[in-house]
Each structure stands twice: as structure tokens, then as C-alpha cells.
């Protein structure tokens, strides 16, 4: 511990920490962090270097509560889900612009209403486009 203390007690380190906006209280934390990192890293590195690795099919299989797994975890989904998800992402987030308007609705008055109407009209253009291009139809 004494060694680490001297290591971090150089005046330059203090100065550097001070410039970076950290008070000297952090010296202890820094020393502790380095120590903890070493304590954590050494066993991991040792086990990586020293342990034998003999994988077999049974060992590499995904653990499924003791039952042999059926198929892979990665099932194919229908591409329609993607289209719906993408459309959802787009139209959902635009609501974010409605909130500030709704909060200040009484102050913005008629002008705000018209502006929001324009904004929504532009969104509706996109909606009509998606509709007519049959992005919303569920095709099996």
C-alpha cells in the first residue's frame, strides 16, 4: 500500500488531477481502482493462459435448463415486421414535437395551432404515401 501511495504522491500527479478538475480526494480512489483492476485482471489472465481448452459438442451447446436445445436461438422473422417497426419508429418519435406545443398551447395561440397543423399535414403526406405503397397491408 505504501508503494502505491508514493507512486501517486508525485506533485505532477496532483497538479494534473487539479487541472483536470478532480480534487485530491480522488488519489485514493485512483490507487484503489488500479489495485482492484489488477486483482481482477490477474486471475482472469491466468485462467486464460493456463487452463486447457477442450470443447466438445455437449459443452458448447446452449444451456437450456438441462433439456437439449431445439434449433438455434436466431429464428427468422417475417420482413413485414421490419417494415412495421420502421414505420413505427418514424411516426412515434415525431410526437416529441407535439409535447412542447401542448405544454405551451395557450401561449402559442392560433399561430401555434396553424404551425402544428402544417407539421402534422406533412406527416400525413408520409402516412398517405406509406398507405398507398401498401406498406401497411399485411401480406402473408
Amino acid at each position: 500500500m505504501e508503494f502505491i501511495k508514493t507512486l501517486f504522491n508525485f506533485p505532477q500527479v496532483h497538479e494534473w488531477l487539479g487541472q483536470a478538475g478532480y480534487p485530491a480526494v480522488y488519489l485514493g480512489a485512483l490507487a484503489g481502482a488500479v489495485l482492484a483492476l489488477l486483482i481482477a485482471a490477474v486471475p482472469i489472465l491466468m485462467s486464460v493462459c493456463l487452463s486447457p481448452s477442450r470443447p466438445s459438442a455437449a459443452k458448447k451447446a446452449a444451456y437450456e435448463c438441462g433439456v437439449p436445445p431445439v434449433g438455434t436461438a436466431r429464428e427468422k422473422q417475417m420482413v413485414r415486421f421490419y417494415v412495421v417497426a420502421i414505420l413505427f419508429v418514424l411516426f412515434d418519435v415525431e410526437t416529441a414535437f407535439l409535447f412542447p406545443w401542448a405544454v405551451a398551447y395557450d401561449m402559442l395561440g392560433l399561430f401555434g395551432l396553424i404551425e402544428m397543423g402544417l407539421f402534422l399535414a406533412i406527416l400525413i403526406f408520409g402516412y398517405v404515401y406509406a398507405w398507398k405503397k401498401e406498406a401497411l397491408d399485411w401480406v402473408y
Partner: protein, 496 residues
């Protein structure tokens, strides 16, 4: 809760001064609906509406050319000669691209309204960037410009190269805009404002601190990506090669113009003075890297589109030289300063580069007939086309009777005037290197025996835009004065 009136912040003159952008947005939405409700036979109307919209927008820009700077939407946007010049370049580019792309789109099976729509929205983004006087509007313009371009780059869905190009462009573009945003957030935290004018006042009293440096590096990275400056150029060759050729033609000019316009406004207006030495040293590295790497690697290319990509990197470097020169005012007597020469260079680059891509479109379908060998003996089979291509190549190199020469001359003169003589020398040297590969293509066209090739007949639009580009390249190379004065008066309005 009373006393607040939204009309104090918005008035009718705001809508008037942003009329070109608003008009294009309206036309874009109109096309969207026309595409849905028009019978398939009348699709020609979509192209006509696009052209009319662009022409009208250009006319509004031209008629309403401002004498002084004016703010719109409480300082979010400014309209001055500088922004209008960039808008003119963008609109001309979009117009030319619409003209050259007709047959290409039919051949590749992507003759759809979405192409024109995305082109229009992307143009609007570029125009907003040119006018942006707030980091927020600049960022919005950047994304409005980029998002349609990602889609356009991947527009040939049946073509794997195009999809890959789009994805690569998207990934690196998103990455760069994240970097840019982080830089913006740091700047906002340090100064408490995102308005460029207000930034100028706050930054003037701020020492160069580590967070500010980090923010500056991030901003340079974000904009450097769009200008495709080394070391942020890695996407350029792949995207230029894979993306549809008309899109590349549009992207190479429009993106560069808008990004460097916004970047220059940010640097000259907000960061002018105080940190200019830090900026300059960062940008010099970028400029030299772009000029050297772009031009040297272009020498070994055998694909015309890829060669033009590397040459675009080189031209990005020349533009940066103009920007660097503008940060230390001072010019050779009687010649324009850095920013003016930058604007004029963009104007010249527009015609030469789009013209060169128009010739590529003329000669073959996507992914075919793009190697140097395919241009062999073009002078014998199609003398006019070869001559026109030669004009564009001469202009890109910077040989006297063309507009490219004047642009490069002004840029190097401005650099020397500001004391960056070495930079100008490197520019001259790399231009000499570029002579080698541009004229290499010229050699193929004029010295080699002709090859068998499928004959493509041009559309009227393609012919017209080739003629316009060639005439403009030569004519404004001989008589550049009008445009130089226009650019100069625009640049002078930047500070007022």
C-alpha cells in the same frame, strides 16, 4: 403566462427570405402525391414539375439577391450573398443532375418519383446548411442533406454494389454526425449558446482549454467527412464507385459546397480571430493530406468513377486551402481573398465535375464501360464527346482557357497573400500530378485505336447539359469577372 406573443419571433419576411427552400419542400410533397395519384402514363409530369420547381427556386434566389445580410426566424437562418451563391451552385447542380439522369434511370429501372423527391429534399438540406446561422440549423441541414443521399446511394436495389455503397456511406456518415454533435454539445456547454454570432462573443473571452480543443477536433472531423478530406475520406472511393452515377455527380458538388459553406461560416464568423491558429494548423494537415493522397492515389486507378473519386478528395484539399487562406485576412493586391476564391472554385467545379460524370453516364450503364480502355479512340468514334470530356478534364486539372484554372489561380493567390506560400506550392505540385492522370484519360481518348462499344443515344437533356457545362467551363474561364464580383460581394456581407 401573458406577454408572450409568438408573432414577435416570426414574421412574414422570414417566409419570404426562405422562399426558395419552402418552395422546394412544397414541390417535393407535390411530387409525392403526384406519384401516388397520377396514372402511370403521365409520369413525365413529375420530371417537369421537378425542373419547374428548381428553376423557380433558382429564379427566386436570383431576383431576391440581397444587398446586405438579413436574419430569418430570429437568427436561426441568415440570408446573404454568401448563402445565396452556395444556393445557386446547389440548385444549378440539382438541375443539371435532373437533366443528365433521365435515360440512366430508365436503363437501370429506377425511373421513379422517389429519386426526384429525395434529390429535392437533399437540395433543401444543402440550402439550409448554406444559410444556417445556428449550430442547430446547420446540423438539421446536414442531416436533411445526408439522409436522402444515403437512400439515393443505395437506390439500385438489385445491384449489390450500390447497396454496399449506401450502407458504407450511411455507417460512416452517421458516425461522423455523432462526432460532430458531441463537438456541438461541448461548445454549447462551454459558451451557453449555439448561435454563431453569440458564439463569437463568448468564444472571444474563452481560453483554449482541453474541452474546447476536443470540441474543435470533433467539429473538424464531422465536417471533414462531408468534404471528404483525408483522413476522413475512406468512404469516398467506394461510395463513388458503387452509387448511381447521377447521384455521385450531385453528391460530389452539392455536399462539398454545402458542407464547406457551413464550415467556413462557423469558422470565420464564430471562431474568427481567437483560435484561428489552432484551426489553421489542424486544417493544414487535412488540406495537405487531401491534396497529396487524393492526387497520388488517383494516378494508379483504372476506373473512371474511382479516379474521379480520388480527384474529388484532391479538390476537397484545394477548397480547404481557400478556407485556410481566409482565416488570416490579407490578399495579393487586386485579387480576391480566400473565401471568394473558394466560392468561385466551387462554381467552376460544379460545371466541370458534373460534366465529367455526364460523359460517364453517356457512355455506359452502371458498372460497365467505366475503365480507361473503354474510352480508347473516343476521339475517332465520337469526336464531339471526346472534345467535351477533354474540356472538363482540362478544367479539373486547371489548364488556362478553362474555369478550373481561374479558380485554382485565385485560391493559390489567396494562400500566398495570407502567407501560406508552402501550401500554395504543394497545391501547384499536386496539380501537376493531377495533370498526369487526367491527361492519361485524354491519351486513351485521342491516341488509342477505338474499341467496339455498344452505342448509346443521348437524350435531349443529356446533350443540353453537356453543352451547357462545356460552354460555361470555357466561357467563364475567359470572363470570370461577373461571378467573382458576385462571390466577393457575398463574402463581404458575412460579417454584417
Amino acid at each position: 403566462m401573458t406577454g408572450f406573443n409568438p408573432l414577435d419571433y416570426v414574421n412574414s419576411s422570414d417566409f419570404l427570405s426562405t422562399a426558395p427552400e419552402l418552395l422546394l419542400v412544397g414541390v417535393g410533397l407535390l411530387i409525392l402525391m403526384l406519384d401516388l395519384f397520377l396514372p402511370a402514363k403521365r409520369r413525365e409530369l413529375i420530371v417537369q414539375v421537378t425542373v419547374m420547381g428548381l428553376l423557380l427556386s433558382l429564379a427566386i434566389v436570383w431576383i431576391g439577391w440581397p444587398d446586405s445580410q438579413s436574419e430569418a426566424f430570429s437568427g436561426m437562418l441568415v440570408v446573404d450573398g454568401y448563402s445565396q451563391f452556395i444556393k445557386m451552385v446547389v440548385l444549378l447542380g440539382a438541375l443539371l443532375v435532373v437533366f443528365i439522369s433521365g435515360r440512366y434511370l430508365r436503363n437501370e429501372g429506377i425511373y421513379v418519383a422517389e429519386f426526384y423527391e429525395l434529390l429535392l429534399f437533399s437540395s433543401v438540406g444543402m440550402m439550409v446548411m448554406a444559410s444556417g446561422a445556428n449550430l442547430l440549423t446547420i446540423y438539421l441541414g446536414l442531416e436533411l442533406m445526408s439522409l436522402p443521399l444515403y437512400v439515393l446511394a443505395a437506390f439500385l436495389r438489385a445491384n449489390r454494389r450500390s447497396t454496399e455503397a449506401g450502407l458504407k456511406y450511411f455507417l460512416l456518415g452517421g458516425f461522423s454526425s455523432a462526432l460532430l454533435l458531441y463537438g456541438i454539445s461541448l461548445i454549447y456547454g462551454l459558451t451557453g449558446t449555439t448561435n454563431l454570432m453569440a458564439l463569437q462573443h463568448s468564444l472571444a473571452s474563452l481560453p483554449v482549454s482541453p474541452p474546447l480543443l476536443v470540441a474543435m477536433v470533433l467539429l473538424v472531423a464531422g465536417f471533414g467527412f462531408k468534404v471528404s478530406a483525408v483522413p476522413f475520406h475512406l468512404w469516398t472511393p467506394d461510395v463513388y464507385m458503387g452509387a448511381p452515377t447521377p447521384v455521385v455527380a450531385f453528391m460530389s458538388v452539392g455536399t462539398k459546397a454545402a458542407a464547406i459553406a457551413a464550415f467556413a461560416r462557423l469558422m470565420v464568423v464564430s471562431f474568427g480571430g481567437l483560435q484561428s491558429s489552432v484551426w489553421a494548423s489542424m486544417l493544414i494537415v487535412l488540406a495537405v493530406g487531401s491534396m497529396v493522397l487524393g492526387n497520388v492515389v488517383a494516378v494508379v486507378q483504372n476506373n473512371v468513377k474511382r479516379m474521379l473519386a480520388y480527384s474529388a478528395i484532391g479538390h476537397g484539399g484545394y477548397l480547404l486551402v481557400g478556407l485556410i487562406a481566409s482565416m488570416k485576412p490579407g490578399s495579393v493586391v487586386g485579387l480576391p481573398d480566400g473565401l471568394t476564391s473558394l466560392l468561385f472554385y466551387l462554381f467552376g467545379y460544379l460545371f466541370a465535375n458534373i460534366g465529367a460524370f455526364a460523359v460517364v453516364i453517356y457512355l455506359g450503364r452502371e458498372g460497365q464501360h467505366e475503365s480507361y480502355e473503354d474510352y480508347s479512340g473516343l476521339a475517332q468514334t465520337r469526336p464531339w464527346l471526346a472534345a467535351v470530356m477533354m474540356i472538363f478534364l482540362l478544367s479539373l486539372t486547371g489548364i488556362p482557357p478553362t474555369i478550373g484554372f481561374v479558380g485554382k489561380f485565385y485560391i493559390f493567390a489567396a494562400a500566398i497573400g495570407s502567407g501560406y506560400t508552402v501550401l500554395a506550392l504543394i497545391g501547384l505540385l499536386t496539380s501537376t500530378i493531377s495533370l498526369y492522370y487526367y491527361m492519361g484519360l485524354g491519351m486513351y481518348m485521342y491516341m488509342r485505336p477505338p474499341v467496339e462499344r455498344h452505342v448509346f443515344y443521348p437524350t435531349r437533356g443529356l446533350t443540353i447539359s453537356l453543352i451547357v457545362c462545356a460552354v460555361a467551363t470555357v466561357l467563364f474561364g475567359i470572363l470570370p469577372q461577373t461571378w467573382v464580383h458576385l462571390a466577393q460581394s457575398g463574402v463581404l456581407q458575412l460579417w454584417h
